[in-house]
């Protein structure tokens, strides 16, 4: 099926994408509420798509048997009632009115409307969300049988729900529409972790605040300042005390883009927005952090900085 792109306030909400729906296969799309709505809006052809929305409710005053009988008659199916009730695992609640069913069971009964669909494609929004363990199992079994002849599309915001019964899973978000290869991505992540871990643990800056040890990644830090013999690490407008010396830190952090701009300042060059010239011999660096932070720049260090920045 084809989906047309949708823009809102000049931003692309729904990219143009095509979904290959094969029979005997169920597809899951993990996305948010808004995009679910947009996708469903494009599936309005009632002869091709049976869409069961999350807000679907049921005739409350009928008993379960009466409801299934009604659905059988209105869809003109030839199934016999008794074997069908067995198959749908509803024998225990045959005589119970829908409004007296426990919530999970009521949702399950509502979802059974999908079983009676004649359309070649069944679209379910958040089918597993309200179901308890047992009802999930029954629904999964029924959906698997249904997918022998029909294609099933499940829209959910929850990866686990999609993994219950989907063969193909896609993720649809602000970055577009991408297939999710569950096995491969798992292995990839492990690989990355093993590769990265020695580097990261070595380069953390350990600080102390209120008797707690807090570790920062160097890119998080705005600048480091030496004040009355103690080292203050500034992160996002807050400062934390660090135990090592400024010279030590300078050695460790140079290849993260830190620069000793002053006898008592070490600045993260990635965050520098502006070099301010006050007078001929006095300079400062303005950082582009949330709070307006200005760090002094020694005259002797200016040439070095200019060389670093190629200016």
């Amino acid at each position: 099926m084809q989906f047309e792109p949708i823009y809102q306030n000049g931003k692309l909400l729904l990219p143009k994408f095509e979904l290959q729906m094969n029979p005997n296969e169920s597809t899951g799309i993990i996305t948010d509420l808004k995009r679910k709505q947009l996708v469903i809006n494009q599936l309005s052809d009632r002869s091709r798509y049976f869409v069961l929305r999350a807000g679907q409710n049921e005739y409350l005053h009928l008993t379960v048997t009466e409801l299934i009988t009604f659905l059988l008659q209105v869809t003109e199916r030839k199934d016999r009632l008794d074997p069908l009730m067995d198959y749908l695992a509803l024998n225990e609640v045959r005589k119970v009115k829908v409004k007296k069913l426990p919530p999970s069971k009521r949702m399950y009964v509502t979802l059974l409307r999908a079983f009676f669909a004649y359309q070649p494609t069944i679209v379910l929004e958040e089918p597993y969300f309200y179901l308890e363990e047992e009802d999930r199992r029954h629904l999964k079994r029924i959906l698997e049988d249904l997918s022998q002849e029909k294609s099933i599309l499940i829209l959910t915001s929850n990866l686990e729900d999609a993994m219950i019964s989907c063969d193909e899973i896609y993720r649809l978000n602000e970055f577009g529409f991408h297939p999710l290869d569950i096995r491969d991505s798992g292995e990839d992540k492990q690989g990355i972790k093993e590769h990265d871990s020695p580097n990261i643990t070595l380069q953390k800056i350990s600080t102390k605040r209120n008797e707690k040890v807090i570790l920062f990644d160097p890119p998080e830090v705005d600048y480091i300042e030496s004040l009355d013999g103690s080292i203050l690490v500034h992160v996002d407008g807050e400062n934390y005390v660090c135990v090592s010396t400024l010279t030590d830190l300078e050695l460790r952090l140079t290849h993260f883009g830190f620069f000793r701009c002053h006898r008592s300042y070490l600045v993260n060059l990635q965050k520098v927005r502006e070099i301010i010239t006050w007078t001929k011999n006095s300079y400062s660096l303005r950082l582009n952090t949330g709070k307006d932070a200005v760090v002094p720049l020694s005259r002797s260090k200016l040439q070095e900085l200019k060389a670093l920045l190629h200016i």
Binding site: R46, R53, Q56, N57, Y59, V74, T75, K97
Partner: protein, 241 residues
Amino acid sequence: MRISFKRVRAIFVKDYKEFSRNYAVSIMLILPIVLALLIRGVDSSLPLAAVAGTFATVLNLSFVMLTCFAQACLIAEEKERNTLRSLMMTPATTLDVLVGKSSLVFVMSAVVLVITTYIFGYEPANLGALVVVVALSLILYIATGTICGLFSRTLLDASLSILPVAFVFTGAPWGVFLADDYPIFRALDYVPSSQLVHLIGLSDTGYTTGDLLKPLVITFIWTVVLTIVSVVLYQRRLKDE
């Protein structure tokens, strides 16, 4: 658009069970009977209390409070629970759904009104004409109820939405009395409820075929127009469901 008797019957039976078990709505079934029992005892020698006049009032009230209300509720309730949308996903066509619901309301109203007439002890001048005009009125009020149901999201909306109908239709026979002061109210004489009053008011002797035909024709026109409007609206409103 094809209509399948089997599906219509399934919808009829389903709606009958839903309606009869929802007491908040189905209590309206006894309203005409209670009205009949109450008003029957009024001294018929008083002005405005002639049997024919009060009977017409009871009928006009019942049409709105029972027929129109029941139909509006049946549709609004399905909309409220989104079951109408999933009914559209089944092979059931628009006509199946509308005919199934309308025939239920028609049968219920007809039975209740027959009982009411019996309790009231009203003897019509021309039974055939009365039956025809009541049947037409039932269809007409069902169509009105459908329109009310389509414009309401919930049951509560539906019970409020019949208020304007009650004002215009039930109030019309009285509104005509103001026609001398406000000429515009003369139009109310052509509302089916006023015509029903005329037809029921005919005395046993001395009426012409013209007296009989005029209410029938006017009611018939109303019925056809409102039925078409309701079916068209139904199809249009449900496209964006």
